[in-house]
Symmetry: C2
Subunit: 411 residues, 2 copies
Amino acid sequence: MRGFGAVHELDCLLCHRRFEPGSAAYTCPDCGDEGILDVKYDYAKIQFDPLSPRRRKEASLWRYLPLLPLDKIPPLSLNVGWTPLYRYPGGGFEGSKGGCKLFIKDDSRNPTASLKDRASAIGVGRALIEGAERIVCASTGNAASSVAGLAANAGVPTAILVPETIPQAKLAQLLIFGARVIRVRQGYHEAYRMSLELSRRFGWYNRNCAYNPYLVEGKKTVSLEIAEQLDWSAPDLVFVPLGDGCILSGVRKGFHDLVELGVLSREPRLVGVQAKGCAPLVKAFLENRECQPCEPNTLADSIAVPLPRNRLKATAALRSSKGTMLAVSDEEILSAMRRLGRELGVFAEPAGATAFAGALRWAREGRLSGAETAVAIVTGSGLKDVAAALQAVEETPVVQDFAQVVELLAE
Amino acid sequence: MRGFGAVHELDCLLCHRRFEPGSAAYTCPDCGDEGILDVKYDYAKIQFDPLSPRRRKEASLWRYLPLLPLDKIPPLSLNVGWTPLYRYPGGGFEGSKGGCKLFIKDDSRNPTASLKDRASAIGVGRALIEGAERIVCASTGNAASSVAGLAANAGVPTAILVPETIPQAKLAQLLIFGARVIRVRQGYHEAYRMSLELSRRFGWYNRNCAYNPYLVEGKKTVSLEIAEQLDWSAPDLVFVPLGDGCILSGVRKGFHDLVELGVLSREPRLVGVQAKGCAPLVKAFLENRECQPCEPNTLADSIAVPLPRNRLKATAALRSSKGTMLAVSDEEILSAMRRLGRELGVFAEPAGATAFAGALRWAREGRLSGAETAVAIVTGSGLKDVAAALQAVEETPVVQDFAQVVELLAE
């Protein structure tokens, strides 16, 4: 197997057995599905010039090709990544000691409106190299619509397993992209299991981020961009929403790569944010014990994962970054959605506003110091879950005559 | 009043009386609300270097600042414009004689997911210069959510009048952006009238594209980008969806500017596309008679305008480009949505897919010649109208066991 770029080997997170790229299909054969592999690079072989104008012409995640598990840019015309980083203007960044700078990384601006496009771009690219007949994926929604859109763009058929309760917008996206969609009554956990079974039985390419080790490598590009957009410096803190734990793992990997390459001198502290109604990893992390599955009860459906699949990688990422975790309530998430909208003009879905809700909580608790730079990642667009957004706002009046309009606006 | 860039004067489309920029608030005082003004530039004074690297660093519509009615880039952090232009890969571009190239300009990638952000960026920029206390807008949805998002970003309050039947997603966007929203029982026409009345009575800045002459100048940037993305050449044909007629007017203006500046040698032919269920301008244009209001009956809500407000400017634009018009059925629109999704991975709302539906019809009728280059503009994201998208696709099965999955995928 060729085409892995500078990938040196794959390291099992459980037994630390190492594999040649391409020799292990997805997870460690000794440890099974839980033996998630970590992609290791030979950094000495990577030629990466942060200031190269040629590289910077590429307004997408492909500007980081030397750090990705591909030899060349795949034939995808949808442009993924290189999303905006906005300074959060809210004067009322309550509780922060002075002028802490908070930035919002708006990954809702990706082609299918979520950060998942970064992983799908790598997944579809690798599926093309491997000549996959089909791409299979289980997802709470965003990963599914993402791989469906990018696979459509590349002309690769898909099979997508989603929970029966997937929000309509995400379902509509999938179907418009021509994906073969099957809703699974038992929910995400069973959909996930079935997707692995399909890959094993039919050899279809699996785009599950907690199974296929290369996908986290796509997600890491969000950190490469943040560092570049901050003129190749590391923020002090990065707030990341946490469902399966793959985004957090990717965020850490990006900063780690840049430290290994000598582009940055340190990694930021990561703060993983879960919704209170589904925070199994927060409890496990803070109490330093095994993660126990929970019964999800939150409107942040994209991160409502009862037992985070990539918890080992995420926990390792948090510990190595001296990071921590916290859980925010649905009320805090709705408030964060309103603030992103009203103060910045960014419309996030509940899970997409969760990291920002965590940053607000952090500030409110006085944990931000004035000199710090923090980033909160918005992972998906609010247009994907309009019902949730409508919970965040008030009813609008209906009028028939101008006097009523004047009266209402005078209020 | 300063800050109008290279704007020389405003020309009334009805009586051709000319005004200094800033001397007429919106429309011609002699002709009233129907006397829409056209912005005229002193092209000799414009310094515009198509190849300037400094200009090209700006990955937004501000790369065309010398051609816009502003002296400097307004303080907006949301980046508008510089959206992707994709080659349409569909092999089955039925009926086209040979290798006609069709490109899709994906304006759903703007911050609030529609082309309207281009106009709103100019509107909010000018409202800031004029020190407006509030921005008022009447809209079928996209213009409203657009101005709400950009005004939130700039910290300017809004008053938004929408039809009672506005789709939920567009309403949710508005409310999340903190707009003061009023739904008008009688629909868009009355909402529009009320918005003008509010501007007159309270001096609030009006962001209605068929009233405020500067907004079309924002919309024209879509053409400036198309020309630049085609290495400063003009396509042969540009397909444009047509509701009020403002986008078409803007599309023409952009190409016209480039011809005036000597960057292009000719303008493309424009094809205005309406939905059959609301095609008042198609009938009027083809039969060369006065436009008669119609009763809208189409799922393309964003262009369901009974009497196009900017029909004069749009008709003039069509005639000067030797263009024409056509109407497509809702079935053609749904089919165009599916094809954009399945063959390109682009999810358009019905109105957003209407221009592409027109291009498909044009090809089917054998009107495309092999040597031609055509562009269809996708004006808004399908996430804004999920209900319509669900009409374009089939029901998805729900399963409980793996055997069912295998059976379904074998079909």
